[in-house]
Every structure is written in C-alpha cells, then in structure tokens.
C-alpha cells in the first residue's frame, strides 16, 4: 500500500566538506499529486533527490520514500524498484543502441508497459537502431523520459525534465505528467521553468540554500499570496512586521509587501499608518520565487557586508 506521504524527510542534512548543501530539510510530498520542486541553481534540489535515491548519504536526519528508509541500502533498492527517475544529466550508456537500452532497462522492472514504450518511441521519433551516443541532447532526454514513463511507477522523480526538449515534446511531456496521478503515479519534479510548474503542479516545494522556504499547494498559494502596494503622501513609515508578511520593500513613498496570508489585516495596517493608495493584487509563482530567493540572497549579502564592515 502506498502511504499518503510518499516522500517524508526529517531534518535531512547534507554537507560536502564545509559546504552545507541541504540544511535540516523537512518536507512531506503527498501521494497522487504533482509536486514542483523549485530552487535556484545550487539550492540543494539535486542533492535532495540524490539522497532520496540512495546515491549520496545524508550527513544527518532521515527520510522515507514510499515508506522505505532512504539510508538503508536494502530498502533503497526497493525504492528504486518502485520509482522511475530521470536525472539532470540524462546520462545514458552511449555504447548501447536505443533498442538495447530499452531492452536492458525493461529487464529490471515488472511494471513495464510495452504499449506505452511503442507509443513513446513513435511520438518521440526515436530510431531504435541508433547508438545513444549518436543522439542529440534533446533525443537523449526523450529516451531518458521514455525509460521512465514506459512503466507504472508509484513515483516519478524528474530532475529538470524539459531541459533540451523542443516545444512539441515539452507539451507532450506536460500532458503525460498531468495524467500520471490518475494512473496512480505521483510526480515529483524539479524545474526552472516556473510557467510549466504553475501549469501542472498541485503542490510546490521551494528550497533555498538547502532550506525549505515554501511548502504548500498551488491552490493555497493562489488563495493566500498577495502583493500589497501602499502609497503614502509623505515618505513611507516603517511598518512593524506582522503575521503573513514574507517580504517588505520600502522605496520613497511606496511600500511593497509580499504576503503569504492575512492580506486584509496588512492592508488595514497600511491604512491606519496613513497609506493613501492601497492596491492588493494576486501574485504568480514566478513573482513569489523571485521575491523569496532574491530577498534571501540580498539579506545574505547585507549580512556579509556587515561582517566585513
């Protein structure tokens, strides 16, 4: 039986020497949902995925995938038997032909679907007799996706799956992913294409410098996140931070706030402090992403500056 939380991490940490790639990450990924895993380059996404798959060992903390412990080598094999994974490198054996690689991969899984394999071979126009090393980057990505999608895994983990794909293939892939939960497959994918994530994801997990900065459903994000612009007739006052304010920027007579909840109260606070122009508008994922990670970066730069001074 597939647990309700297919991925569960508890204080998961990974250090590479003195560099902390993943910092006490706590997350819960729900079953039969599409979860977008977001973060900047080097935020710790790939390290997290590699820990989930047993490729690298956590420095501390723990985690489970489909109820199996990620730090137990035997249970890790069970995880890999039940999931399908496409890595960021899409590195495949160049010395095999497309057909050989499909035959090789198929031999490890009981849930292989020959009809899906044939359909994807046709859709992606992959030449079965061609060596993998002779394929273009996009074609290799398609082959990697075929090897993952031609099964009925409980969980599909994709690291930058649309990178290098043409628009038609991206569309086909997104359609496939959208249909996956109805077949009992949960999807956990990382991407820098925020518009794609916003289009298909049910849940969002955003990490920055190894720490989870956002973990909620897209529906909740759309309902709760608001941008609040407060215009003042005099230089903007300093507003105290209240519940729901994620970021606040003061610029002359203007204060711009990104709120994760409590938008009405924040607007009321602005009104009480003399705001003459109050504008509350919904925000998209891209804006949230940029505000969240950029703000963290700025804060870090300021901290470094203070240390230097």
């Amino acid at each position: 039986m597939i647990p309700e939380r297919i991925i569960h991490t508890s204080d998961l940490t990974k250090d590479y020497g003195s560099f902390r790639a993943v910092d006490q990450l706590n997350c819960r990924v729900r079953a039969e949902r599409i979860t977008g895993f977001l973060g900047r380059n080097g935020a710790g996404k790939s390290s997290t995925i590699k820990m989930l798959l047993g490729m690298i060992r956590p420095t501390s903390g723990s985690g489970t995938v489909l109820g199996y412990r990620i730090d137990d080598p035997k249970q890790s094999i069970e995880i890999r038997r039940r999931i399908a994974y496409v890595g960021e490198d899409k590195g495949l054996y160049g010395y095999m032909t497309v057909a050989e690689l499909i035959r090789f991969t198929r031999s490890f899984y009981n849930d292989w679907q020959p009809d899906i394999e044939r359909r994807l071979l046709d859709e992606y126009r992959l030449p079965p007799g061609r060596k993998v090393k002779a394929l273009s980057k996009g074609m290799r990505t398609k082959l990697a996706l075929l090897l993952a999608l031609a099964r009925r895994p409980a969980l599909l983990i994709l690291d930058e799956p649309t990178e290098g794909l043409d628009p038609v293939s991206i569309e086909q892939l997104l359609q496939t992913l959208v249909c996956a939960p109805s077949n009992g497959t949960s999807v956990f994918f990382s991407s820098h294409q925020l518009s794609e994530v916003e289009r298909i994801a049910d849940d969002i997990l955003m990490i920055d410098r190894g720490v989870a900065v956002l973990d909620m459903s897209l529906e909740q994000i759309r309902e709760n996140y608001r941008r609040i612009s407060l215009g003042f007739s005099t230089p903007a006052p300093v507003l105290e931070s209240i519940c729901g304010i994620e970021t606040m920027r003061r610029d002359g007579r203007q204060i711009t706030i990104l709120a994760s909840s409590n938008a009405e109260s924040i607007a009321q606070l602005g009104r009480e402090r003399g705001a003459v122009d109050i504008n509350v508008s919904p925000v998209n994922l891209r804006e949230i992403f940029l505000e969240t990670v950029q703000d963290d970066t700025k804060r870090e730069q300021q901290e470094q500056h203070h240390v230097l001074v």
């Binding site: 069970e78 890999r80 994974y85 890595g87 054996y93």
Partner: protein, 245 residues
Amino acid sequence: MYWYKCWSELRARVLLGIAAMAAACICIVYYQHPMRFQSDEPVTYATYIWKAVYNSFGRDLFVILTIVLASGGLMQERALKTVGFTLALPVSRRRAIAVRAAVGYLGVQAMALTPAIVVPLMSPYVGMQYAGAQAMKFSLLFACTGAAIYGVAYLTSYFMEGEYLAMLVTVPALMVYAALLQLPWLNRAPMLDIFHVMNGEDMPFFNETQHLITGRLPWLTLAVMLCVAGCLVLAACRRMDEKDL
C-alpha cells in the same frame, strides 16, 4: 541483466585483448625459425615459446591487457555522467561491482587461454609441435596470477575517477612491486613473485632446462592469488558503499 551492461562495456576490450594475444602468439610462432637461430646458441622450440610467450612479450602484453580490462566501473561512470542512471536501477552497489568484476575476470581468463589455443594449433604450420597440456598449464598460471593483478587494478579504478588514471597508477605500482622483489629478504619467498609464478621461472614445478612445467602446479599459491583477488574486489565494494556518487 546487469551482466549485459558490463559485457557491453567490456566487449570491445575483451575481443581486442584476445585478438592482440592471438596476433602476438601467431607472430611468435610464425617467426620462430629466424628468431631461434639468430643467437649464437640455437634454442629449442619449447624454450623459444617460453621465452617469447610466457616470459617476455606475451606475458607483458597479458599484464597490460589485464590492467586495461580492470579499468572502468562506477567512478568512471561518474566522470561520464552515466552513474545517475546506473545507480537508479534496482541493483545494489555491491552487486554492480561484483558483476563487473566477474565479467572482466572472464575476459582475463579468455585472454589467458588464447596462447593455449593458438600456440598448439599454429605450431604444426611451421613444422613444430607444442603440447596442448603444457600450454594449458601456463594458461592456468596466467589466469590465476592474472586474477591478482586484475584485483589490484580493479581496486585502483575505484579510487580514481579518470578512465585511464587507474591504468597509469597500476602499471608503475607493478613496476615498483617488481623492483621490491629484488630485495634479498623478499627473494627468499619466491612464491611472492607473481611474475615468476606466472611463467614458472625459479619455481620447483618448472624444468629450467626444458622450459616446461614438469612438477605439480602450486595449487595453494594459485588459490591464494584468487582469494587475494576476491578480497580486493570486496575492498572495492566496501569503498563504494560509503562513497557519494
């Protein structure tokens, strides 16, 4: 099916290795007459075969090809960026390492067997005879001592990421080993000299006049060589158990 991946990776090297060993043996047999009689003191055919195949060129070629065959594995896959795909398969690292070691070692055995097939078969074409049983004994020595060399190179390849780096380290390491064997206190234990066990030189089972194996093969030494090889593969498994890839 994991063996299929290993075989696909090693196939070219194994076949080229066998071809190289076969070509070397054919050339040695074909040019036996001028080579045997060019020196002041002509040598017998058996002595010539021993010197050319089992003591110099043939042996050195076998050692180098064995090292070449041992290179590769998960560390090299990391450099080639295919390790993610391999490690995502439901196969334990230990099994992956052991299967590759086994497939590679079968290649070493095939290369060791090549002179035992080529030399007796080719000899009649130049009017000579070389006993198949004699050649098989040398092949057995090659296969068992080759296992130890293979084990060293295999373990080294799990410490080095570059495809050829392990080879570049193993060859000088074996040269240092050969130099150390010249030390007087190591000289007293001839069975420690893999290269001599390989061709019988200075060994009680080898007739130095006829250059033929006449005594009982050193089964215990050969078994120890195989055990050493097994331990080295096990060490490679242990090394990769803890390694982040």
